[in-house]
Symmetry: C2
Subunit: 229 residues, 2 copies
């Protein structure tokens, strides 16, 4: 079956930059291409938009089909439409970025095909299409966003220590933060719940665990509060 139009049309795809935090490394989920063009090269998970699905639905479907990921935090990043970005035909791609709790996802990724893997953003392989550019913009957006919105919690386990929280910011922003100032700032915003639990199985003295208080944050937002790290 073929489809005919009066004017030429581009194909439209979605691609996802999926970030995960692995201890002290920021990582991106890539798939290895099983077809031309760029056969065998690593690329962002993604694919063509179906006629009956919205763009965010397409992004979620492709993520699930290619990586098994479901229910992740997803936001539109940017649309890349350079005329020659795909050697086959004109393809305009709507890029999304996702934040994933790697601790929860690691097992599933391991059980999946060998052609899905996490790579440190600092040591990415050569990527297909213009995906290097897409990743670069995703990283910039993440770095800008974590400072003004509490999205970084999406990368952490539900319960985390203040050390893990600070490390998350240091890894994303790629710089050291002063421990005292950081704790003062984050605790001062009153958006964490201090739990009656400590971390376990660590070689150092076990630290207190915290949880992000999303409903508290939402009510603060309505009152004009500005999150800022």
């Amino acid at each position: 079956m073929s489809h005919t139009y009066e004017y030429p049309r581009p194909a439209v795809s979605v691609d996802c930059v999926v970030f995960g935090l692995d201890e002290d490394q920021l990582k991106i989920l890539l798939i290895q291409r099983g077809a031309e063009p760029f056969l065998g090269m690593w690329a962002l998970p993604g694919g063509f938009v179906e006629p009956d699905e919205n763009l965010n639905e397409a992004a979620r479907r492709e993520l699930q089909e290619e990586t098994g990921l479901r229910g992740v935090w997803l936001e539109q990043l940017y649309t890349f439409g350079e005329v020659d970005r795909d050697p086959r035909t004109r393809v305009i791609t709507v890029a999304w970025f996702a934040l994933v709790k790697m601790s929860r996802y690691r097992a599933r990724a391991a059980s999946d095909a060998a052609n899905v893997d996490w790579f440190p953003v600092s040591r990415l392989p050569r990527l297909a299409f213009d995906h290097r550019k897409v990743v670069r913009l995703g990283l910039q957006r993440l770095q800008a966003k974590v400072r003004y919105q509490p999205v970084g919690f999406e990368l952490l386990p539900e319960k985390f220590t203040l050390r893990q929280l600070q490390q998350m910011y240091e890894v994303i922003l790629d710089r050291q933060l002063d421990k005292r100032n950081f704790r003062k700032k984050i605790l001062g915003m009153d958006i964490l719940i201090e739990l009656d639990e400590q971390e376990s199985g660590v070689p150092h003295r076990a630290a207190r665990l915290y949880r992000f208080d999303k409903s508290r944050y939402k009510s603060l937002l309505k009152a004009g509060f500005n999150f800022e790290i």
Copy 2:
């Protein structure tokens, strides 16, 4: 001539949310549709992407063809792709937002067809398609952006008074700012050049004129400076 593809493809368009500042009002440039669907209704300037042009080129071309605007500050806003957003066929639109010095543009707009006009964002007519949603997102983006980037200067004349500058922020953010704090903050950033000129033709005491120092701002940026209002 017709165009045939193996899989169905959506049409892709661009639409522009063009902001201008008219004294104490934030305005948006709209065009009146001369064809179905939504014949006679107001809409954002825009149109279909040509096969041989990049998305930003399409946005600039449509802006010029439909409104006469050239060389404006333009940035990608968001891509809207709800399945049923156009009654004709599936159309995915890449929305852009533009900031314009109205003082410079007013004359040209007046000489153009009657179907282009500026509307206050607070009193927009009914808009075609999902353009109301696009405008709302554009406004949110502008409000977020002016606080962390000196984009607001794009809306002001080259030479402006501190009163005009403050008014620009007040109009966009839709709230009063304390004059003393505002001046301390903006002058403290050291990104304005104080001119040896004063405004003219005003009913009140003529105030000093200033200019935004873009090259100074760029070198401050490299040194890790954060703009913030």
